[in-house]
Every structure is written in C-alpha cells, then in structure tokens.
Symmetry: D2
Subunit: 313 residues, 4 copies
C-alpha cells in the first residue's frame, strides 16, 4: 500500500496528514476541534478530503483519546469529546470513501515511534506519553498489543498511591496524577508557595504568584537553574521512573520510549527518569536493563503512527 492519511484528534485541534511508507509527512492540515461529536466527525472528513486532493491515498488511520474497541471501529468512551459507543469508523468511511482504522492516540504514537522513531530495531517496546496526562502503548513481538477488548496500555491509570490523589477517571492515586504535565505544574506551585525564595526565576516568568505558574515557565526556569523548577522535574521523574520499573517487572521490554510534551525537555527530564528507574528496578543486579529512550517524532508520532496502522490494515 502506498500513501495513507493519519488523523490526530486533540482536545483543541485536529491534525490530518498524508504519510508515505517511510513515515514521512507529505502534507498536513490542522483545524480546531469542534465541540459536538457530530461536528468532530465532519471536521475529520473535511480534513481528510482536504489533504487527499493532491495525493492518491488508500486508507485513513485516526488516533483519538479514549477507549477504542477491539475492532478498531468504535470509541467506547472519550474523556474530552462526548463520545459514548461512537461508531467512528463507519461514520468517517461513509463520508470519505476510504477504509478507516480507529486507534487510541497513545497507541498510535507508540506505533509511530516503534516504526519510524526511537523504537526502530526493537521487537518489544513500551512507550509512555507524558502530556497533560499519561498514556501508553505496548509493542510485543513487533505487534501493537491492544488487549482483548481494545483498551490495553492505559498506563496512566494504574494505582501508584493507595488512597492517593483523585483522578478524572473516578479512581484515586493514578500514575498520571504523579507523572504528567499537570502533575509537574502542581509540584511547582506547591513548592513555590512553601519556598518562594527558591523560585524567584520561576515566579518572575508569570505574574509573580504561584497560581500563575504554567508548564513552559517550569521548563524555562529549570534551564535557568531555578531550584524549585529543577526539583519539580525531579519529583516528576521520581514517579515516572518508579512506574517504568513496575512496567519492567511486568513487560520486560528491551526499551522504554518516553514521549509527550514533557519529554521535549530532553535530558532535563530523561536523565532523572533513568536514575529513578534504576533506583526502583527490582532485581536490577541480576537482569539486563531496558534502555530508556527519548521519543524522536515529537508531536507527530500519533499522526504518523495512525497512518501506518491504516497501511498495515
């Protein structure tokens, strides 16, 4: 199969792109995410038609946050869009006249990294996506593993702390409450309240109050040596690495790939994650260690991965 289209549905925008067999993006279009379920379907169809005008495309892969069923056809539940048992595959196929595959967005991103990014050459790879929340994808034996019902790889909701922080999912102590962009901001705010004298640079990037701290302030301040910002990254890394150690006990992959916006900071966050991973890895003296790699495709991993999954059929 030749060219396919990948669609990445985010909370604020939808990106569609034509992708070739090497994972290169030939053309893209981005539109705002409509507020109604039906509007989203229309927007996907329009974007697909838009980018396919100049290309002979053969299939469409859609990555969306939420539970996608085992047939890769229906979104059982989405956190951001009001989809409940939404037959997305059928609806889009009817509108665009191409075969459609639906996939969880973190799964799509994991597949993208496995095929064209940091995971190349590995057969067994676990990807985590540290964005606003924490998503994941599982490649075992060179296949994306979706589980019996399609909802495997929901790493963000394993329980790291019994009776811990409330999560949007209704449970408590979920990993994404401790290792995600949202967690990073919470760490920074709490620390800036308690020790403002160690957060001078960080606070100066907003309006001077802890409440105004945003994620990009923390990155900038950490690079500038701000103690609170650095410590906030370290706290996030502490939890991220501890979770990877659990995943090593479970999956024993040859590599972990860390993607998502938080990972854009590179070694600032990767290095402490590796240290924490080693700190908590059970039986580390007696077994080969998985590598902990930075993702390479950045924000395009989901789009590229979805397109490639559509190509695989």
């Amino acid at each position: 199969m030749g060219l396919t289209i990948g669609v990445d549905i985010g909370g604020t925008k939808i990106a569609a792109g034509v992708v070739d067999e090497e994972g290169s993006i030939l053309e893209t279009v981005t539109v705002p995410t409509p507020s109604t379920p039906e509007g989203v379907v229309d927007a996907i169809a329009a974007a697909v038609r838009d980018v396919s005008t100049n290309h002979a495309v053969e299939a469409v892969g859609i990555g969306a946050a939420g539970y996608v069923d085992d047939k890769r056809a229906t979104v059982l539940f989405a956190p951001n869009i009001n989809w409940r048992h939404e037959a997305l595959k059928d609806k889009v196929e009817q509108r665009v006249g191409l075969p459609v595959v639906v996939e969880n967005d973190a799964n799509a991103a994991a597949w993208g990294e496995y095929r064209f990014g940091a995971g190349q050459g590995h057969n067994d790879v676990i990807c985590i996506t540290l964005g606003t929340g924490l998503g994941g994808g599982i490649i075992i034996g060179n296949k994306l593993r979706r589980g019996r019902f399609g909802v495997a790889g929901e790493f963000g909701h394993i329980r790291m702390v019994p009776d811990g922080l409330l999560c949007g999912c209704g449970s408590q102590g979920c990993w994404e409450q401790y290792a995600s962009g949202r967690a990073l901001v919470r760490y920074a705010k709490q620390r800036a309240v308690a020790q403002p004298e160690n957060a001078e640079l960080l606070l100066s990037l907003g309006d001077g109050t802890p409440a105004a701290i945003e994620g990009h302030h923390i990155s900038q301040a950490a690079r500038g040596g701000d103690p609170v910002a650095i410590d906030s990254f370290r706290e996030l890394a502490r939890w991220a690495g501890a979770g990877l150690a659990d995943l090593a006990s479970l999956f024993d992959p040859s590599a972990f790939i860390v993607g998502g916006g938080v990972s854009d900071e590179g070694e600032l966050v990767l290095d402490p994650i590796r240290k924490s991973f080693r700190r908590w890895l059970v039986g580390g003296q007696y077994r080969p260690h998985a590598q902990v790699l930075a993702a390479r495709l950045g924000g395009k991993a989901g789009l590229v991965g979805a397109a490639d999954l559509a190509r695989q059929g």
Copy 2:
C-alpha cells in the same frame, strides 16, 4: 511430538511427571530438593530418568522459581536455590540426553492453565499464583510472553505501596507483601493480637497464641465463621483485586486466572477478589470486564505447563 516430562522445582521438593498431549499426567515421582545447586541438577536428572523408564519421552520442561533468560537455558537468579547464571539447560541435557526447556515456574503454571485448565478458549489471559509469594504469567495472542530478556510477568514485585513493606527482593511495597499466603498469615496474626475475642476459633487451632497461627488454620477458621480469619481473607482479596484492576488497565485480557495455594479456598477468596477487582477497575462502566476465574489444575499446573512448553519446543 508425543510424551514429554515436566519438572517442578519447589523449595522443599522436586516433582517430575510424564505428560501426554492432552495434559494428562501418566506417572510422577517426587524427591526432596537438595541443598546445593549441583545436587539439584543431579536430582532433576535422576527424577527424569526415573519417570522415563516406562515411557518414550521426547523432551523435558523444567519450571523453576527465579529469572530464566530469554533463551530458556540459564537461570539468571533464583530466590531459593543458590543459582546465579546457572546453565541449567545444558547441564540437564548432558545428563539425560533429551532436549530441555527451562521456564519460570509461574510462567509454566500459567501456560498449563491456559492450555488445559481455566484458560482454555481464551487468547489473552493473565494468571497470578498466590502461593507463599505472588507469581504471574502472561499469555497474549495465544503465546506465553516472556519479555525481551525472559523476565516478564514478575507481578509480585510491582510496587503497590510507596515506602511500604520490605520485600525479600530488596525493594519496598511489592504486591506479594500484600497479596500472598505470607501476607494472609500476617493479617491474621496482627488482627488476633488486636482483637483476640474475634479470633477464638482461629487461635484454638494452634497453641492459643497469635504467633502460632499458620495458613491452614486461617482457611479452616474462616470456613467455621471466625471473624478474624474471614477479615484476613478479605484484606488479602482487597489487595489482590486492586492489583488485578491495574493489570486490566495494562493488559486488558479476557480473563484472569487465580491459582496457587491460597486459591484452593475457592469462593472464600475468589468472591471477595472479584468484588475488589470491580471496585477498583478504572472505567468499568465503559468497557467489557475480564472474568476472574479460579485455576483448575491445582498444584500440577507448573509440571503440566512445563511439559507442554517442552513439547512446543
């Protein structure tokens, strides 16, 4: 391939048996576990020769506690026997003249249940073995998944409680410290100290002191209605079910199989595990639920599974 031999190496005894293609055991022998690594190899070889006298066997599968490498040849580390990088496959092959496959004992038991026990008809099954500790095995897409380095499925050592109980592995808060036979005894002892008036039956089965409580006392007392014994099973089930909920987020299997000595109590422990699993399952309203099944092969699962893995080659 026709008949194969399965060997199950336990802390106190070694069992070997001839197993046919249906998973039936034709003949078994049991010997005490020697105290030296070399003695264990000799005992395995002797047991294999013993049971193969009357049968035309074609291969040997050995299940052993510990890390087994990706080639299923070397025990990287064993908790009970002083094996470090022990070339078990080569040593036994030299002595018995048959092809040998080495496997982690919980993996072997999982495979046995998948092939001939509670897992029949499922393609994606997660097994946990609640014995003295907690072991596990992963079947995805009808294959035993061993990880890149052979040590996948070490469920007992995922961290359930940050800064929690010390574990023999050197880490803290490991699942097997909260859900295992050893944990059950601890729960009962702690409760019997605090509220002896609710443990009269339980205490009467030993010498009357909490320190003398053993696992089989708790089972017997729970069946007799002893409040502390029942509550101890419930506490174990609370942790077991919470962990299964995490595994559902990760693997999304169609079924969990609960085996090991603790599961011999049947619904006494299975029913509260199911309730706890449902209590903690993330997104339970929006997704199909995995079944939680009792293992069917009892203590023979490891032997039968090891034999079948040897048959598969």
Copy 3:
C-alpha cells in the same frame, strides 16, 4: 462571673446564646452569615445585643473556624470568611461594650464537651469534631491547650497519606480528607458507581444517580441496611480510628470525644471507630486504653464552650 454569651460562627449561620454557669442556654438567636468580613462583625454585634437585652451578661466568647492568635484576639486566617489578621476581639468589643474572647470553633466545642458534656470528670481529653471537615481540641491538665501561637489542635491537617488527596489547605493527604462528612459522601459515591446493586436504597433517596448522594442519605440508608452506606461509614471509621490511635501515641489522654455532625449517628459510627482504634493502637497489650466517647452537646458544644471560655476570662 455569672451569665456570658457564646457565639458560634458557621459558614451559613451565626448563632448567639446566653449561657449560665452550668452550661445551660437561656436564650439564643440565629442569623445568616453575611458575605463580607465587616458584615460578619456587624452581625455578631447585633446578635449579641439581641440576646443580652433580657440578661445581665458579663462577657462574650466567639468561636470561629480558622487560626486564632495566642492572645485570643485576632483571626490570623479563616477558611470560609475572608479574614486575614482580623482584629475581631477589638472590633466586637467596641461595638458591644463587653470583654470578648475569640477562640477556634473546634477548641470551643472541645471545651464545651470537657466542661459540660462527655468529658466531665476527665483531666486529659482530646476531642475531634467530624463535620464537613475535621477539627480538634486538646485539654491537658484541665486546661485548653492552644499552643505557643494559638493554632494547636489542627488535627484535620496531619498527613495520613503521603502524596494523598489534595486538601483545601494546599497540602496533601490530610486526615480530614479521609475522616469527615465530605469524605463520607465521597466514599458512598465511589462505591455506588462501582457496585450500584449494593446501593439500591441509598440511590433511591436521591435522584437515583451516585452524583446526587448527600450525607443524610447515607445515614438513612445505613440505618436501613444499605451495604454501600454501611461500608462507607466503616471506611470513615477505619481512618478516624487509625488517627485516634496516632493521637493516643502522642497525647495519651484518658478519653477521646467524637463530636460533629457525623457523630450524630451514634453507635453506627462510634462502634467501628472504637474497633479501628483498638486495631491500630500501638502497644495496646501493655497500656491502659483511652475511652472513645460520643459527644453529648451536639451542635451546641461550640456556643456553650465559647461562652464558658469567656467566663474563665
């Protein structure tokens, strides 16, 4: 000194009452709580003048949520009213022409119970108030202990769970997130989502959805045998009792008094709290146990206590 006035400032209403030396209330008035700090001062003054018309009163005691300074004059910080370093004593004295004592509301309630309620005859008593949140008061050697800066007894904010639930105070894992009326409602909602078949009565008291569950539903349903309601009280009691065990290690009082709206349920909540307390009490075999008593003054404890503290001067 003869008659004094007690004032209890709640989030929704202000109650003032004339109290005699026996702790009997001779007359009360209740007004809605104004929304501005100055409005609250005016309302207090008006209520005091109102109830003092027919009585020769000699002093006023005011109980308010928040930090009250060591001089019992200034509210350093209040959670519900926008008071920061509010000179409440001076302002009210100027308006009513009587000596005023300001006290933390849970301290006032503790003092009321110690003097005229469940604490009579004890020299060393710890009170906890399970209302919307969790407050406390310390009587040691027959004196209310306020700490060096006036803010002792903030039991609700000791950390029960590291990295636990966010608290309105900005910290995490505070006791009041696990043992309070608000926690009780959360327990019931979570359980009703996971196991609606065990919450039929509970759900029938609202609109049928977990989201509509209120505290009084849980009490009513628990008395009617609803499993989820009963289990929710038990969960609250588990945390309340564990915290009392910590307080016993710290203060070693002769009695704990449990007050606040949650305790109005009597033995429904007291009995499991006692069991949990015994379960977690350190060294329980080797030491006398404190009693765990239900408060006797109900919602009047704060008003009566504040009046009596004003009498003591």
Copy 4:
C-alpha cells in the same frame, strides 16, 4: 534540693551521674547493661551507690526506654529489657535508700534539653530524639506532659505510611521506620545497591559491600561529598521534617529540638529537616513558625534530665 543522681539505661550500657542544680555533671560511672531484669536493678543500685559515695545526693531519677506508668514507678513494658510491669521505683528505693523517680528515656532527654539545653527560654517545646529509633518528649506550659497513663510522647509510633514498613512494635508505617538511625542505614544500603557508582566513598569505608554500611560511615561519607550518603540524609530529613509539620499542627510549640545520635551531624541533617518542615507545614503563610533547633546536651540529655526530674520530685 541540692544534688541528685540521673541514671540512663541503654541497651548496652547504664550510665549514672551526680548532677547539680545547674545541670552540671559532677561525677559519672558507666557499667554494661546486664541481660536479666533483676541484674539491671542490681546494676542500677550499684552504680548509684558508687557515684553517691563522695556526694550528698537526695534523690535518683532513672530514664528507661519503654512505657512508664503515670506514677513514674513501674515500667509497664520495655523493648530491650524483659520488663513487664516492673516495679522499678520500689526495687531501687529499697536498695539505695533514696527517693526514686522513673521516667521514659526520651522524656528525660526532652526535659534535660528544656531545662539546660536548646529549650531554655521556651515554654512549649517538642523534642524528638533520632537515635536507633525515634523518641519524643512534650513540654507544654513549662511542664513535662506524660499523658493520663504515662505513655504520651511516643512519637516514633505514629503512622506515617498506611500499610508501610513493619515496626518492632507490631504496627506498620511507624515514623521511626522512616526517620531514625536505623532508617538512615537502610536508605544508604538500598541506594548503594542501586547506584554503587555514586557510593564509592561510602562503600570504601566498610568492606566494599552495601551490607557492611554502618551509620558512622554515612556521616563520614556525607561530609566527604558522597552522593548516596548525602541523599540518604536528605531522605531521612524529608520524613523527619514532614513529621515535625504534623506535630506543629497538633502542638504548635515555639520550638522543636532535634536530638539523638543522628542529630550529632549538625547542619548536615538539621538544614534539610528545616527545609522539609517548611515544605510540609500546613498554613505556613498564615502563622508563626516554630524554630527547629539542634539539641545541645548530646548523649547526656537523658541523664541530666532524669536527675532534674528527681529534683523536682
């Protein structure tokens, strides 16, 4: 009253000393701790007679680990010596012919620091002793507060981590499992296993293996810049400071005094404890902060405090 004798009963040795009204020690004697309860009584009596030969002493104060009853006469339970309801006061009085007061050793040390050490000038002081375990003492209103039954101030056994580390007391998650000399050694060993390249100096002070690490190695290595040693102190400080923040919510003292062997390291441990305390102090923006002070009397605090308590009668 003039001179009194203080006796400090440790796990390995018993120290007795003559102390004057200024807290100065005029003469001391040290003997090994006998292994039998009766032997300990004999040794105390002999030591008292020994140091009183040259001095006109009027009373004896004995500090011992364990629960001492409200009459300061009987040791209800001791962790190191097999005392159960041991009438220590009567037995020693019969042998030495002087009035005897028995006190918990951490209480005695707290009193010593309050009277002659870091606590001078404070009315409300909380002391913690970071030795092998963690002990405490409470001074409120210039009096040592012992609780109704004599066992107040058992700080080491408040629960810091639900379902946490097993404690010798039979409970789980006790503070002393996370903040004590024993905890410090555990932290260092765990870290040295996981990251030996960061523990080169630390490991070089023993036999090169993590198992051989002792407390004094960690101090020496930390002063030499060893990363694992420094991080181990920081981890201890994290837990110590968090606990002090809880104690501030409860007691609101003007000062905390940190004593015991661990505190001999001075600012190496005090500085991170202060930072952690500030990090976790609830409502820190709205209230005056207690000081966190290093103890001044070192290992003599218990002996001096016991002598002074005997003087007070």
